[in-house]
Each structure stands twice: as structure tokens, then as C-alpha cells.
Subunit: 198 residues, 2 copies
């Protein structure tokens, strides 16, 4: 298994390969519905306990990292029409989702069952991913397009909340055209609400 | 147990008491983490299978009804200042939550694990509860305060999405003053975005 991982990513350093092996092991265990422990991860990945603890402080951080696998930052362009960039970034493959919807649902389900995991995931992954959106809003204010008195946190919650709502409450798919249209309409409302009237 | 239920609600008809007994039984089973079946509900509630099936078509509808226990409609006033009414309705006890946050988390967790349950809950409970919010927006348009071209579904998702985001993504409590302030700020942004510019 180590060899396979090495062959698949020949240019990557040894430590990344180990990381990847561990996270793949954790993901597989999560998908199987097993209760996780570092001992089970050692068995599933073949990576030693010591090596795991050198990389992650504990099982919660390890699960959070595995749940984040495959997700990419929003990737919002900061030149030209900011609203168009926002719509584009959030409709490329549904919301802030750079991975399958089933994995998103699993991540949310586990987070709702475990507040520690939820807070860890929020602090270590989501806040980092929100940085691109925050930057876009700050640029809008700097340009004078958006109001100077914006509550950035509230605006980020408003913008991303509508996408989570589709998955968590409606049970709709973000790749469904009707869902995307609804989200785009909602983003336009939010954007108008942030515009500088002056 | 039947007697207790009857004593607690002396003025209510017999059928409502049976409903309540069944839903209490289902809730207790859900809280214990048990896998549910109609047979287990019969054992837990003492109500016959035939009586249960007369009221609910199946286990999914029964779970949806139990998850909705204790929730009340938004209760949005439709006179006076509509934005103030909206802020008031959504800050009375956090979002659209007329029951404990743990039950909300349980409901969302079960929905994420079971798409049938999620769709049933959406169709039979949430769409009904959204009616008050929808009415408020429609009144705003009729008054000329809100834009005539609003996508009502998108706006309802935007407004309620920000509250779910607090619980599902941030892991924050809706009774926390900082969370409430953030949600209120977001609602004001959404409202400005819906205003009729004419």
C-alpha cells in the first residue's frame, strides 16, 4: 500500500505520502461507519502511532483533516466584477463543495454528533477556507462598492448559509440546476444588501 | 402511562392523547439511539400497530412527526414594521427553534443520514412552518416595500439558512448573544437586498 501511494505521486515527498495514507485509512473507516480510534487507524493505514501523533495531536484533529480531504479553497477571483466572481466561485460545483455531496453529508452528520469535532473542523478548516470570501468582501469595501459598515462574519454566514440550507434542510443536490438558480438568486439579494448606497 | 397522559391534558380528546403517547415513545427511542421500527414503537408506547398505522403511513412519517414535536410556527406579526417583526420572530428563542438545540441537532443528524426522512420532514413540516415567513415577504411586496421580482423561495432560504449555519457549521448556540447579533446583522443585509429601490 505504501508502494502504491508512492507510485501514484512520484514527485511528492515521503511525509506527504504518509499523511495521505493515514487520511485515506481514516476516510475508509469513516465510510464504513466504524468507531474510530488511533489504534484502528494504525491498523488500517500501516503507519505507526508515533508517526500519526507527530502529525496530528489526536483523533479529533485527525478526523477533521480526513473530512477535509479533497476540499479546495473557494478560489474566488479578485479582479473585475466582484459579484460575478462570487457567483462563479459558488456555482462551479455547488457551494464551497470541492468534493462529493455524500462526503459533505457525512462530515455534517459527524459534526452534529460531536461538538469537539465540529469546533475543531471550524477552527482548523472552515475559517481558513472562508478567507477568500472575506478577502473579496474587504476588496469590495476598499473599492467603495460595498458598505463600509459591513459585519463581515455575518455576511460570510449569510452567503454560505444558503448553500448549506439546500443540503441540510431541503435535502437537495447542489448540482441540481433549480437548486443552483435558487442559490444564485439568494446571493444576488445578499449582494444588493451589502452594496454601498452612497 | 395512558392515565398520566390523560390526566395531564384533561380537556383533550382521546385521539390526541394517543398521538402524544406514540410521539413521546418515538422521541424516547430516538434519544436512546435505538434503531426504530413500528414494532419497537408499539412496545414503547403501548399503542397498537393498527392505531399507529391509522395515524401515520409509516415509520418515516412517524419519526418526522416526533422530530417536529414541540416546534411552533414562526409566529410572525403582519402589522407594523415588517423588518422589526422578522427580527423579533427570529430572535425570540433563536431562529425557528421552538425546542431544544440538542433536538434540533438530532433532527438534522438523522435527516443527513436518511434522505427519505429528510424529504418527508421537509414536505410535511418545514414547508408548513415557512408559510408565515412567506406571508410576511408577500405582504412586503404588496405594500410596495419589497421588490416585486423577489424569488420568495430563495429569500426564505437565505433568511433561515443563516440560522442553520450557526448550528450546523459553526457549532454555536442560537441563545448565545454574539450568535444572535450576527444573525440579526445578516437579516438586515438580506432585508436591504429585498427592498424596493423605486
Amino acid at each position: 500500500m505504501a508502494d502504491t501511494a508512492v507510485e501514484r505521486r512520484p514527485g511528492r515527498p515521503r511525509t506527504q505520502t504518509l499523511d495521505e495514507r493515514v487520511l485515506e485509512g481514516v476516510s475508509a473507516l469513516l465510510e464504513s461507519g466504524e468507531t474510530l480510534s488511533v489504534r484502528r487507524v494504525v491498523e488500517a493505514s500501516g503507519v505507526s502511532k508515533a508517526a500519526i501523533y507527530r502529525r496530528w495531536p489526536g483523533i479529533t484533529e485527525l478526523i477533521a483533516a480526513a473530512l477535509d480531504r479533497g476540499r479546495t479553497p473557494y478560489g474566488i477571483s479578485l479582479s473585475g466584477d466582484l459579484l460575478e466572481n462570487l457567483l462563479e466561485a459558488f456555482s462551479s460545483d455547488g457551494a464551497e463543495v470541492g468534493y462529493s455531496e455524500e462526503r459533505l453529508r457525512t462530515r455534517l452528520r459527524l459534526s452534529l454528533a460531536d461538538r469537539d469535532l465540529q469546533q475543531t473542523y471550524w477552527n482548523s478548516h472552515i475559517t481558513r477556507r472562508r478567507a477568500g470570501l472575506l478577502e473579496l468582501l474587504q476588496l469590495g469595501v476598499a473599492r467603495g462598492e460595498l458598505r463600509a459598515d459591513l459585519d463581515f462574519d455575518a455576511c460570510c454566514d449569510l452567503i454560505t448559509g444558503v448553500f448549506y440550507y439546500q443540503v441540510v434542510v431541503r435535502g437537495d443536490s447542489l448540482s441540481d440546476p433549480a437548486t443552483r438558480d435558487r442559490c444564485r438568486a439568494a446571493l444576488r439579494v445578499a449582494w444588493r444588501g451589502m452594496l454601498n448606497p452612497g
